[in-house]
Symmetry: C2
Subunit: 449 residues, 2 copies
């Protein structure tokens, strides 16, 4: 089949209405197989929408003999990724990871072949290089599925909001962590138990690091920030905190206050510059993001003129992600049929990046302490020494059994700050942790105001 | 200024990077003035995004001498709408209503001038004619602001979801009625009081008919249905019910059941064909649409592969609507700079329209009755006669004072049906209303399952 793909009629140049546009798929996993299904099953409808037929010209995967879908002609399967790229008018990269994805995508773009990809890690690391290659060779690069799965969010950001000024995007962009936090909230589970449950149900991978440590969300934050602010913001610019330290105590305290804990990807254009961060935060229950349950994703946007917007939908899964991939394929195919391309992604702003030292917020801090007289006074004094003011404090009188090494009663002390500088707060907390009455690691959560 | 507009350099043909693209505004009201502001204030940013400068070339309005905005050069103001169209590369129609909007838009399109409009009534009535004119003359017609104000929804429907099959859209697409229902729910107000409050606060017009009778939402439903199903569905195809008959009793009963009343625009592609309807419905509190509060709008989409999606934001207001208008202007300007156009809107499917007789749903029906023995038996028997089954029934023992002409005690009888045929149910209810113990008009609300 490699030869068939490589020799496929390239429909772009001649512009004849009946010449099919060749789509080459790299990857035949969950998303790849569903993408193939939509392309095949909806072929007539897609032809109507594009004005020219679309043809699956090749599918590259590691073990072609293991792939068996009723809608997929086995003759299209090959191990030869480069042949699939060469035979395509549109190369759809669904391999994931940095290599060989980067090489293959660049190979396509440098040959003027448009690319559709769902690869967030690739774009968060090498986005600007790929955007430049696409522009230089008059090829399209579309990647709706890389952020928020099925949710049409990247395109509104690139196009619909192009007459406005985006101030911030708050995203729930990782379904695994949202599912885990949701289970912890509704069932009172501890993190470890909820994670195991998510793994058993297929919502979390065997190695959940990329999800629970916030790296997946951070990749998406980098992509979103670059597009929203037209500034090169890569994965290395994103400060990341995951959810592994969230305890059922944190969740219970949040619930008691009418709040919910969500892992947020936050990109902002503030006074100190642009920033992209991932952290767990306490959100009031009446905020639209609070109702994003289970494995759903959402992006909450504030723009100067549009005010508040939210985009909501399935952030993962084969068919939903394939919906976004095929939507991009149709757009690119229309451009090919027209002999045009979409607007190139140009990161023409070089906005300063806000230093972490500029980070300001309200924080909820939880310490575990061995209860003794005078502890509250010592902690309060430390806050005063650092010029930090406390908005509320709550000492839980129930013993908590979290440190098996301590035989006495461990209690939970929880306080909420006023709006304060994050670096100062962390220094203050580090000092407090030097007190012998503090047990284990404190939890520090941002509070959405 | 009319001459200046008419004589404005037409930038399209020569493609020089420094030749501005002329934007002519028809209308200088709330949205028009904010559109002008964004075009002027964000000029440099827009130039970056388009690759060519954009220039406000003329603003037509009824009384130029009354218009005074700090960002608007008064020399651009004119009464001469046709001159503004002639001088524009992009004509932005914000006059509203059918005429002269239709004539002006056709004039533009027939001359190959692209159009951006926020005019839902125009599109719901004459959409196919305008889409054909645009395609025939290689001009764009974009109208993000016509449905859901600032929410990027039309474009995802036209583009992002073009690789999927949309089954249904449930929209809260009228902010006025959503605000009124919200006030009735949270404050226990009667419809008349809530309407008056909305008028005083500027959320409802002096003549609220178009909003409260559902006509505004119906226009939007027609536009959405046409795009979602690629089938010509006009305003005359939309069955409409407004919210004027909703009482505080209906709201209280909904609240007691954990539901909320919303005016929905519903477009569906079902077994009996495609349909577009507007009606008030009972929605469970945990549905994402239930949390759409106040004057916000949202569209909840179900597509075959993408599954559930929701788009949320401000459905009205000068700046939010202008954000959508300018987003469209930027897209069209990019096309002009590229010498291309966007994909034409082709209603290539001619799907059958589902007859009202095919409408099936669960209904909540409320009668006001003069309580006498045997009433329940008589009503139940009527339902049985029509082959309709009742899922639950509730007789309110508190006297309700809704009919001042009746001196006895009037009670409320409320029942919820099983899934049933709407026409049959309405015939049954008509029969029941012939009983002398029934007072006034019953309320019939769909229940979302």
């Amino acid at each position: 089949m490699a030869d068939q793909a490589a020799a496929g009629v390239r429909g772009r140049e001649d512009g004849r209405e009946d010449v099919p546009i060749n789509v080459g798929l790299l990857g035949a996993g969950t998303v790849g197989s569903q993408t193939a299904r939509l392309l095949v099953e909806q072929g007539d409808e897609l032809t109507n929408r594009i004005g020219r037929p679309i043809r699956l010209s090749g599918v590259a995967c590691r073990n072609p003999s293991d792939v068996d879908y009723p809608w997929l002609d086995k003759a299209l399967l090959t191990e030869d990724t480069e042949a699939v790229v060469r035979g395509a008018d549109i190369a759809v990269e669904l391999i994931g990871g940095l290599e060989p994805a980067r090489t293959l995508v660049l190979q396509a773009l440098n040959a003027g072949t448009s690319v559709v990809t769902a690869n967030k890690a690739l774009l968060a690391k090498f986005g600007p290089e790929l955007y430049r290659a696409a522009a230089a060779h008059h090829a399209d690069i579309y990647f709706e599925a890389a952020v928020g799965g099925a949710i049409p969010f990247i395109r509104p950001l690139r196009e619909s909001l192009s007459g406005d000024r985006v101030d911030s995007v708050l995203g729930i962009l990782n379904g695994t962590t949202n599912y885990i936090l949701d289970e912890m909230t509704t069932k009172g589970l501890d993190f470890d138990v909820a994670l195991k449950d998510a793994q058993e149900k297929g919502y979390a991978e065997a190695d959940p690091t990329g999800d629970v440590e916030g790296i997946d969300a951070a990749n998406k934050a980098a992509i979103v920030a670059s597009l929203a602010f037209h500034t090169d913001i890569g994965i290395d610019d994103v400060a990341v905190e995951g959810i592994t330290r969230i305890t059922s105590d944190d969740i219970a305290a949040a619930t008691a206050e009418g709040k919910v804990v969500k892992l947020l990807a936050v990109v902002e254009n503030g006074e100190a510059g642009v920033s992209a961060r991932v952290y767990p935060a306490l959100i009031p229950l009446d905020h639209p993001l609070a109702s994003v349950r289970g494995s759903f994703n959402a992006a909450f946007v504030h723009a100067e003129a549009a005010d508040d917007l939210m985009f909501y939908g399935r952030g993962a899964g084969g068919a939903p992600t394939a919906s976004a991939v095929v939507g991009d394929v149709v757009t690119v195919a229309r451009h090919i049929a027209q002999g045009s391309t979409g607007q190139a992604i140009e990161l023409y702003n070089d906005l300063p990046k806000a230093p972490l030292s500029a980070s300001q917020a309200v924080f909820a801090v939880r310490f575990q302490i061995c209860d003794r007289p005078g502890i509250l006074a010592k902690i309060s004094q430390k806050f005063a020494d650092y010029g930090l003011s406390i908005n509320g404090i709550n000492q839980d009188l129930q013993p908590t059994p979290h440190d098996p090494g301590y035989s006495g009663e461990i209690q939970t002390l929880r306080l909420v700050t006023h709006h304060c500088n994050e670096v100062t707060l962390r220094e203050c907390i580090k000092d407090i942790c030097d007190f012998s009455f503090v047990v284990g690691e404190p939890s520090i959560l941002r509070v959405m105001e």
